[in-house]
Symmetry: C2
Subunit: 424 residues, 2 copies
């Protein structure tokens, strides 16, 4: 963990970058055993220092209350014994995942006689900029370490004291396994200029991962001269086709909306084929009423459910993250896909149908990071997909799309094996 004493933020950040680059070379060739030992030691340290973590976290919470942070923010900031246990468990799960680094694939002989293949390798140095939730410090450190990357972590100023103790646990894990302490550096200043400096250190940082609210993501995307893996909006759709089976459609739609309201893979706009709209809406309305979900519908929806509010243009494309659902009746699959491409955010969209051809078309034609048939959008998640922990869900198209786990923090280089081969 680095702390700024001088006011020269730029120089401090450059020095962190230089040390991160040097550490990344060592980490890239570190063996799996050492990395896993470091992860397990970090988990032990977090458990052993529970008291100190809770005490330092209390300092952050008190400062946050004095500064007038809202309750949701304070909730995200707060440690509990359960949350500390979950952090330690998360690190052990990362240790148990297969090491992606060094895997060689597609090694084939070419007509020239050389063998050409690809080797999975770390990206190098990952810069992570995040807000409030200090558990990101631990998750991000663990994922970067296992994928062989050095990390520069810049948490929110409101979690300053909590992050300090976590950084100590991380450093002790690294050193205990004989890995460089600079492999995970936590920015020790709360000066916002540190973020600006980080975003322009192309020489030392290979990718930036922002995690937080839309303001943070927008700032990072605009300012960064380094490639960014980011999550924008989660405006997820379910389309109930007129060949959907009604009971499944109701179950999946209600789950997609109500299993959790605040997550990015929660359903926000429901599209219903007009052929099934009378039956589907009649079955859905009481189910949503029971859960306290406010419905907002297009004119055709309101022909069946006159009691609900009218949806305006702003409702299409809204990410409510709340018990509100926009509903639109559409003529057919084409109109549904058109709506999704016009108003969606390319996150997760599902069709509910028993029709083979329509399922096949939806899968191919909808341009989103996750496209589903007869399943709840809530499944769009690194653990559910079998990736293990995720560093985020990317709504970008390049490099990593959808849940980003260890693989998204690596890249492929070409390897060529010859025996004195020259090009003719």
């Amino acid at each position: 963990m680095s702390e700024t004493v001088s006011g020269d933020i730029q120089q401090t950040m450059e020095s962190m970058g230089e040390r991160a680059r040097a550490a990344s070379r060592i980490l890239a060739r570190a063996d799996t055993g050492a990395k896993d030992r470091a992860l397990r030691t970090m988990a032990e340290r977090i458990e052993q220092r529970g008291e100190a973590l809770l005490a330092e976290n209390r300092r952050d919470l008190e400062a946050g209350e004095r500064a007038g942070l809202d309750q949701a923010l304070l909730d995200r900031l707060a440690f509990t014994p359960e949350r500390l246990a979950a952090m330690a468990e998360g690190l052990r799960q990362i240790a148990a995942l297969p090491d992606p680094v060094g895997a060689i694939s597609d090694l084939n002989y070419r007509p020239s006689g050389i063998q050409v293949g690809r080797m999975r390798v770390p990206l190098g140095v990952v810069g992570i900029i995040y807000e409030s939730r200090p558990n990101v410090t631990v998750d991000a450190a663990g994922l970067c370490l296992k994928s062989g990357n050095a990390a520069i972590l810049r948490g929110g100023s409101e979690a300053f004291h909590s992050n300090r103790v976590l950084a100590e646990c991380i450093r002790e894990g690294l050193e205990g396994a004989g890995l460089p302490a600079d492999a995970v550096q936590v920015v020790g200043t709360t000066d916002r200029a540190a973020v600006g400096a980080l975003l322009r250190m192309q020489t030392y940082v290979d990718v930036i991962v922002p995690r937080g609210g839309k303001g943070l993501i927008a700032r990072v995307s605009e300012e960064s001269r380094i490639p960014v893996i980011k999550h924008l909006d989660g405006v997820c759709h379910v389309y109930i086709d007129d060949r959907a089976q009604l009971d499944k459609a109701v179950a999946v739609t209600v789950n997609a909306k109500t299993q959790r309201y605040g997550t990015c893979n929660t359903l926000e706009t429901l599209l219903v084929a007009e052929g099934i709209a009378p039956r589907a809406l009649k079955a859905l309305a009481p189910a949503f009423a029971e859960k306290g979900v406010e419905l907002r519908g297009c004119a055709r929806t309101r022909a069946f459910l006159p009691e609900i509010a009218e949806a305006t243009e702003a409702d299409w494309g809204a990410e409510y993250l709340a018990p509100i659902l926009a509903i639109r009746v559409v003529p057919d699959l084409d109109a549904a896909i058109e709506h999704i491409h016009t108003y969606g955010s390319g996150h997760t969209d599902a069709i509910l149908t028993e029709d083979y051809g329509r399922a096949r078309r939806f899968l191919r034609e909808v341009d989103s990071s996750s496209v589903m048939v007869n399943a709840s959008t809530r499944f769009a998640d690194g653990f559910e997909y079998g990736l293990g922990a995720e560093i985020g869900i990317s709504t970008d198209k390049l490099h990593a799309r959808g849940p980003v786990g260890l693989e998204g923090l690596t890249t492929l280089k070409f390897i060529v094996l010859g025996d004195g081969h020259v090009r003719g």
Copy 2:
């Protein structure tokens, strides 16, 4: 092909972007047969219009001479019957490549009962900005089309008339196969503001590929708000280990430097282990002298070859693209890797050795897009690697690294198949 009549570049570009996005939806679901028919028709049209292409190209060449373009630029600009035949052949080769779009991989059942897999899909709209060489118009159009992407091509103003006729051939190919003409649009204005507008159309363009000199790449990287796949420098190294076999080492080193001087995968700095330096340098010096290659060496190199010039700091890291070679004697493998990481550009680096452990270490530890053992750096090429045509060689780490073929113009989305599954 679009042409600007009004002076409102911004609006013209936005309109092209909007049409490209619409065309990309159709292209993404186009079947392989239609795309291949379009490619073969384009090839026929180029052959049929040979006279017109040569005549329009002559107009560009005459304008270029009047404008005082240097001979190298005019050479790259010039069409010959052979070059036209090569363009047509290139399109037929792309038609013969397997279609990457829609391929599903890793489709597995998860404990929840859903199946999760990944589908290869087009990026969407690709913007390509290039200089002088009009054959890029044809290569880029072909690769984008086969990979299911719409393309906006912005060639150099010096190739204006040549590109116009090529654009007609491309459009006729698209229309003949029932594909939208807007799938490949060639920017019809030579106004540089068009590039600025293109680089900020995040809504319509998914990736920018610049192809040209360092000035162009630098401008595009700095200005673009859209992800860029780019090629920076090609400072390639060969390291002759003291366990190299001398005859192979000489053959590979001479090939890597002299097979072609102007390419990005050409050897620029030779590193020689001190244990083999006397023998290796003695064997190499006459071979390079015969080819007219100027050698510049470090002090230890000059102890063996006193007649050559002294290499200065500027020689390490120089991309000569010329018959010049920098030579440095290093103590061992560690020093060689350190030199490559300090001065290299992450393009292509090779070790020459018969030592198993050192080959293994070099492959894992050198952080470049292509890492080779006992093979010439000149093999770093899409055709040699079996990718088919390439749109460029990326020195970036994210998304595409090394030669970028059809796969680099696609991405993976997650697909989920269920039967009414909900998340618990």
